[in-house]
Symmetry: C2
Subunit: 342 residues, 2 copies
Amino acid sequence: MKATVLESAGRVRLVHVPDPVIQRPGDALVRVCLAAVCGSDLWPFRGREPFTPGDRMGHEWVGIVEETGPDVARVRPGDLVIAPFAFADGTCRPCREGLFTSCPDGGFWGGRHDGGQAEAVRVPFADATLLPVRADADTCLLPRLLPLTDVMATGTHAAVLAGTEPGSTVVVIGDGAVGMCAVLAAHRAGAERILLAGRHVERGNLARRMGATDVLAADDPATAEIVRNQTQGGAWNVAECAGTQSALDLAIDLVRPGGTIGSVGVPNGVEHVDLYRLFRHNITLRAGVAPARRYLEPLLADVLAGRLDPSPVFSLELPLDDVASAYHAMDTRQALKVALRP
Amino acid sequence: MKATVLESAGRVRLVHVPDPVIQRPGDALVRVCLAAVCGSDLWPFRGREPFTPGDRMGHEWVGIVEETGPDVARVRPGDLVIAPFAFADGTCRPCREGLFTSCPDGGFWGGRHDGGQAEAVRVPFADATLLPVRADADTCLLPRLLPLTDVMATGTHAAVLAGTEPGSTVVVIGDGAVGMCAVLAAHRAGAERILLAGRHVERGNLARRMGATDVLAADDPATAEIVRNQTQGGAWNVAECAGTQSALDLAIDLVRPGGTIGSVGVPNGVEHVDLYRLFRHNITLRAGVAPARRYLEPLLADVLAGRLDPSPVFSLELPLDDVASAYHAMDTRQALKVALRP
């Protein structure tokens, strides 16, 4: 089959690799229907995160089950399934506590595991990991389902960690796909006012379509002051969705004393956390990789009911064969997010 | 009157200063009955925190009101009062939200304000700041009341920030007076198991008397592993009561994935917060200076009812005249905490 590998910084390539096979009784083989490039794929692509040449790429994908091991009971060949970006055994203590991403036997797609930017994936712990959609595999539905695998689950986690409640005023920092999904998630959670601080003014319209009430420039030194003024002292709920030093600093700058920062961006190049300011003003910092599996059922229910549509985060769809172009488009910010069709 | 000043690193002295006078209508003048030296006083004393030579010292004290300004209504001359370590106006938004330590017009005793290691203190916003005890000013009661001004309120805040609930297993890091009070506070909050990780084995008996079920050596590399084993994966609730790099690192090492660290030690020399580990395992970090005023009423009620006695944190009482000896005893760890009687 064909699979995307990272050959060197700046160079991804679709190469022929052996077809995956069932290795353990709990495995499933899934044919990928639609995959995506994630903002976090760009960190190793840019050489800003370590990788091994030849690492498989892609952790966002949905597909159709082709074959299952003898222990698999919940998913069946032919099922359309959603795969969260982390697989997990579902039985260990962290899994039972809902923290699937801390499963000691779990892992993330890509690297030495199969990646999703490929034609097929071997899925360990298929019963615990995959969520069958059990609906007509209408191809129109795929772009709405695909974000649930990561960015929509992560945006939801951001809104949850930030403490969003009905009526909340939430500041979302970062206008990448996760930030957009955090806006959508805050809206879904009943936030009354959602201020998005981003770096790309041209994304403002999309942000408003997702539910943002205000769009601010993250790199404008006046932004923190504007937020403090408009919230009478700072925001109670801040969703940091970039993972960079400047995003974290801005979050700490505009959060209200006693408020909460939910931080879901993979920390990249964050050299300093202003602990003294957190301490001085009793600010809660809740950083966390999204245990995406936890959010899949309710998000899927909303998508199927037509109440949730995160597909606008995809600004481009390309054939899997053009994966290099997809990375290029995201790396140069010509595309917010790219879907790949094998 | 006599007041303690920090003349230079390592040198405190009791000097004669002008008697305080009412300056604003909301002021009260209070004669100090008992004061204490705090672990955080040692940071400037050791030259590890900036100070201005001549800074007044002491933020833990209880006293008798001598005079009040015309706007003061809740406290009266003759009242025995407890002063939290921060004064606050009680009317601003942070105060109304219970975050007295973030009051823009508030401040901390000492420095350019009057300090508590003195014969008297001018108290701004006396109505909002002071809590009248309205009980017989039995001198036996003073050592039980004095810890409420800081260490017992801060220990309570630690237990609260760490998310302590009835039945919780709580790890307290730091066996100074705040750590001891956090043990007491966790016990008071219904924690079932309280593990204290400290650096002074000789304080173990006191810790057990305060409610610790296990005493561990904070600097033993095996301690985190012991806690993880005994808690099946790490502690949900960790109260970091030292403010040092090693204490924070230990907290992050032994907290459970998905768990919470409440951090109340004034950060001192903390160069690095392991944000990646917080992110990787969804650990909540709640750092905060205690809004002590918030906790005074319920703590006082418990002291007056005989349900709470934090006085064992004082291992030594000296006359105020011996303030230099008091600092020396704490600096050299001969005393856990010293009370000073003017």
